[in-house]
Each structure stands twice: as C-alpha cells, then as structure tokens.
Symmetry: C2
DNA sequence: GTTAGCACTCTAGGGTGACGAGTGCTAAAA
DNA sequence: TTTTAGCACTCGTCACCCTAGAGTGCTAAC
C-alpha cells in the first residue's frame, strides 16, 4: 500500500506543514525535498495518500495537509525523538534541583520548563495524594478548642488541617491517640482513609474520639481535587491556527477549568510512559484540533502523577516527545531521591 | 468650570461608552438621555469637556470617549457603588463558607466568584505569610534521618517542610526543642524567623541544633513567594478592546507572570480599603489600557492580603467596586472567625 | 511509469465607491 | 447671551470587484 516514495512524500508533507502551517503543494515538495521526481508524479502519489486518508485538501485549489491519521502514522512510524544536547540536559537538572525541597514549587518549575522548551501549553498534575500511603498521623493541640491534624504521606507529602472541637478536649490524650492511629493506619492509602478511620476509631477514645471522627471524616478527606499547574497559555497565540479568537476560546475555556483539565491529563496518561494523542482521538471536543503528549511520573515504582503538553495537531512531535520524556524522568528521579 | 449640564453630559458619555464600547456622539446623548437640549448644544459642551481633558475624540469624525481623567472624575465624584441584593449576598456567603477549612480552596473560590460576578479577570493574593506571627513550632521525627518541621502561624496558617540530617539525630530531644523554640519564638513574624532562629539556637542543643540551624535557616524561610490565584482570564476576550490579539497579548503576558502580577496587586492595594487605579495611573505598561480595582483583606486588624479585578478602563466601576468590597469583607470575616 | 502542458478553481489582498455617523462653524432664533 | 438649525466636510466601514498566484486534475506525449 505504502511504497517507499509515498512514505517520503508523506514525511515531506508532515515536516513542511509542521514548519510552515501552510498547505503543502506538489511543487514545493519537488523543489525543497529532492525526491528526484517531478511535481506531477508527486501529485499522483498525493492523490493516493489522500484516498487512504493520510492527507487532506482544505479546499480544491490548495496543497495538502496531514490528517489525524497521517499524523498518527508519522508519530508511530516515521518520527525519531530528537536528542536533547547534554549541556541543555544538565542545565535543566540544575534548575529543577533548586526546588527539590518544596514539592509545589518543583512541580511549578517543571511546568514552566515544559512550556518554555516546547513553546506549547504545559500542564503538570501535582502528585496524586489519593494514592499515597499514610506514614504517620499526628494530632497537635493548638489551644483549648483547636487541634492540628498532620498527615505524613509516603513520598514525603504532608497534609494538614486545623479542626475545631465544639467542647473542650483533653490535650493529654493526643500523643497517645496519634501513636495508636499511626500504628493502625500506616500503609492505608489516603483515599481509603475515611473508611479506615471510621472502623478504627469507632467507639474508642470516648467523646474526643467521636468528635474527631465526625470532623475528620467529613472534612479532612473530602473533595481533595488534584492540583494542575499550567504554563505557557499565551503560547497558544503564537500558533497560526489559533489566531482566530473563536477557535482559541474553546481551548482557553478548557484550560481555565482546572478540574476538566486534570481529568483529561490523567485519562490520557493512564498507561505509563509517554503517550501521544492526536486530534479527534482526544475525548474532549474542545481539543479535537489539538494533540496532547503526556507522560506519567513516579516515586519508586509507583505512578503518582502526570505531565502533559497541549498544542495544535501540527505539533513538533519529535521535540515535544523528548522533552516530555526527559522532564517526567527528572521529576520521578527527584521525588524518588527525596524519600530515600 | 464644570456646570451641572457638563457633568450630566460627561456622565452620559461614560455610562454609554461603558455599555456599548462605541464612541458616543452628540445625537445619541440627546436622544437617549433627555437633557432637554439639542445635539448642537451638547456638541458645544463636549468641545469644552474635551478641552479640559475629560473626553477624547479617537478620530475627527467620531464621537467622544472618556479619558483616564474623565474616568477618574467619574469614579471619584459621579459613581455610586451599586447595591448587591440581599439574596445574592447570602448565596455568596454560603458558597464561600463551604471552603472555610481549607484556606487555599477558599481563596480560589473567592477568586472564581470575583471573576464571575464582574466578568473581568480576578486576582486573589493568598494570605501573606511573611507578615504572620509564629504561634507554634513543632519538630516531628519521621525516621532516623528525616525531621518534619511544622510552623503554625497566627491566622491559622500552617507551613511545613521535611528536612534531612546528614547524621543520625536523637529523636528524644525533639519534643523539648519544640517546646523551647515555641516559647522563645512565639510572636516573631515569619519574615524575621531566620534571623531570630539564628540568634536563638546559636550554640545550644549541640550537634542537632547546629545541623538544624543550618538547614532550617537556609531552606525553610527562603524565597517564599506569595501565591496569586487567577480566574476569568478568558473573559478578557469578551471585551471588544481586546478582540485584537496583539493588544491582549501584553495583558496576557502579565497575567502569566505570577510574580509581577502579585507585585502589582500588592503595590496597588498598599492603602487599606478599596482602591481604583485607572489606565495610565498603573505602574506597569502592559495595563495602561486597563483599570484595576483592589482591596485588602485582614485577619482581625491586620492586613494580610489583597484581591483585585483587572478590566478595560471602560469598566463597570460601580458594580466592580461593590463586588470587590463585599468579597474582601467576606474573606476577612471568615479568616477572622477562624482564629477565634 | 513519468512528465509537460493546460484549463480550471480558489484564496488573499488591494482598490473603489457608497453610506452613515459625527463634527465644527455660522447665522438665525430665543 | 445662549441655544438651535443647517450645512459642508471628514472619516471609518462595508460590500464589491478585480487580479495575481498557487495548486489541482486530466490528458497526451515521452
């Protein structure tokens, strides 16, 4: 079906269109990529490629542009992830390492780098605490009515919340409770905490226990949405396809809805490793004109988050692929290092 | 200088221009706002208003639009903050109260509300921890090498960081240290913590103390930038003046630079209460075509943060003013309530 | 199987002219 | 002295037309 020359023509079309954002004509290909044949021959090949569905003619007297299917073939077969030069690589390591003690800043920095290095929109999902395991629980007396609950989660994440008792409580009881809760709940995931707590505390610790239970169960664990860090939103407007405001609006709207966005990214990155999702393959209508390159990152062997880049389907796949891969790895390395 | 009729004409021009974004002509004013005089008379008044600098003619055969100076007069003299209906007010209170236990979510919610209620870009600066006072310091043993440092700050904010010791330490020493540090450093502001810590720990606590000191001093307090929560960025594009991408880009760029943005907002809100800054009054060039309405919020009597709305100079000042005022107050109330 | 030539299609961009909104000025009216 | 009507003039907008240029598909020749 696809002889060597067709493949070369397809590659030429994809490369040229990614570069120029203009439909690619037969003459352009003949001139710029010396395939050793005339424009007429290339036209014939293009007609075939169009029939298979790899390229599209926006209107009758224009050149061709790749279809989603064409991009898919390009990504799966033709593309070679571009190597990132060693000096740039180490420069990045250096910048990232500077934030390693403050996970939120670290994640934000990764997001910035991701957008700067790709010139597209970058999304980084913060480590998903729901999947993390409890390492320690501490109850700290603040004053007569307020208690500070501290949860230390496995890869070095800390969650805390202040709760207020309606009645006075006995501060003396807190250390013992902390210890017991810790020893009983160690290893439970944050997501399962609520159920486990109810089972554990039920009927013990008297008044304090019951009150704590109520409050903790209802508040501590509720609706902990994943945080998404966004960078490079304006880079959208560098892309000719989004010079039209109405077309950009859909995407912008999606980007502003952090929840939909993090859902999207976590859906797309459900398999570990780098994933490319092209145009209409995307589950959300707003980005049917976009491609998304995602990757998961992990602590040790455990996947705990994802990063992604969103750009037009006419995306520099090779570069984006490499950058996403590298930054996801850096992030994993740093987080893994942290808990050693 | 400004007789009654001139003022009415100015008000008409501002009102109409805010509504329509189209230069306002003499005939329109005569027709829509019945001042009881003919267009020709209004033209004369307009010529005067233009001479004083309150209005501007974009080109010779167009109507007039208010100048920054005109808006300033409008805001200072003519505008009456619009009343917010009681049912809407309580609806908002309800929505906000739902997040009161998680300050970050609360602040985010305020930001959303701010943009929804005004249709402009909303910025909320998270409580500025630098100014908060230390309430309690706790050191918690995580394992043989890692210590969790918890700082409870005055209006119910909690900061924590995990530090790693190069040598083993004695976990038994931590509770006593916590207690001593707390009693000595209570009341010190977060900003001054570093200096105070050095003074306090110096030479005490042996190895552990020195090690802790090094690490805490260098890491805990460093570069704690204020967080800014942004909402309604896309609403920019609803405004006709930003339909031109190139003009919107400057603003968008600013919005993406969180640091500049929080600097801007905190500069503009340096006096407590609601502040309106119009067009070229703004210190940053990117928003010389914009106005900003800001307000501080406080815990008790202490100002600890600010919120703001950014829109075109052609902004619905009356409404924005009220909304900003109300939400800043709500936020203050809730935070103040929290620490009681 | 490849290529040159040709008629055809379509878009982008520039130019034109009518139209409408708005102005300033002058002279008359109040 | 203030207000108003009338008029000539200025621009910006929009619809329209036209052309240049790029690209195609088809056919016939190589």
């Amino acid at each position: 079906m696809l002889n060597e020359r067709k493949i070369m023509v397809l590659q030429a079309i994809v490369d040229d269109y990614i570069r120029s954002a203009e439909p690619v004509g037969s003459r352009t290909i003949a001139r710029r990529y010396n395939l050793g044949v005339s424009p007429a021959t290339i036209r014939n090949e293009m007609a075939d490629l169009e029939e298979i569905g790899y390229i599209i003619q926006p209107h009758i007297s224009a050149g061709r542009i790749p279809s989603d299917k064409g991009y898919r073939f390009y990504v799966d077969v033709l593309m070679e992830p571009s190597a990132i030069p060693e000096n740039q690589r180490s420069e990045i390591q250096r910048r990232v390492a500077a934030y390693k003690h403050e996970i939120e800043l670290l994640v934000q920095e990764i997001s910035k780098l991701l957008s700067v290095l790709t010139n597209y929109v970058a999304v980084v999902l913060a480590p998903q605490i729901n999947l993390c395991m409890i390492e320690q629980i501490q109850l700290l007396a603040l004053d007569e009515y307020r208690i500070l609950v501290i949860l230390v989660l496995h890869p070095g994440l800390v969650q805390n919340r202040i709760i207020r008792m309606t009645n006075r409580y006995d501060p003396e009881a807190l250390p013992r409770m902390s210890q017991q809760l810790t020893s009983r709940l160690q290893g439970v995931t944050y997501r399962d905490l609520k159920a486990s707590l109810i089972k554990e505390i039920q009927g013990e610790y008297g008044d304090l226990g019951t009150a704590l239970l109520d409050i903790i169960a209802s508040e501590l664990v509720d609706s902990k949405q994943e945080k998404a860090f966004l960078s490079g939103t304006i880079s959208i407007f560098e892309q000719p396809e989004f010079r039209d405001l109405d077309r950009a609006k859909g995407l912008l709207g999606l980007l502003e809805q952090k929840e939909s966005l993090s859902n999207l990214i976590s859906t797309l990155s459900r398999y570990s490793g780098v994933q490319v999702t092209i145009g209409h393959e995307n589950p959300v209508e707003e980005i049917h004109e976009c491609s998304v390159v995602t990757s998961t990152y992990s602590v040790g062997n455990e996947v705990i988050g994802a990063i992604g880049v969103i750009g037009p389907t006419r995306m520099e796949y090779a570069n984006v692929y490499s950058v996403v891969e590298m930054l996801a790895n850096s992030l994993s390395d740093i987080l893994t290092e942290l808990i050693k």
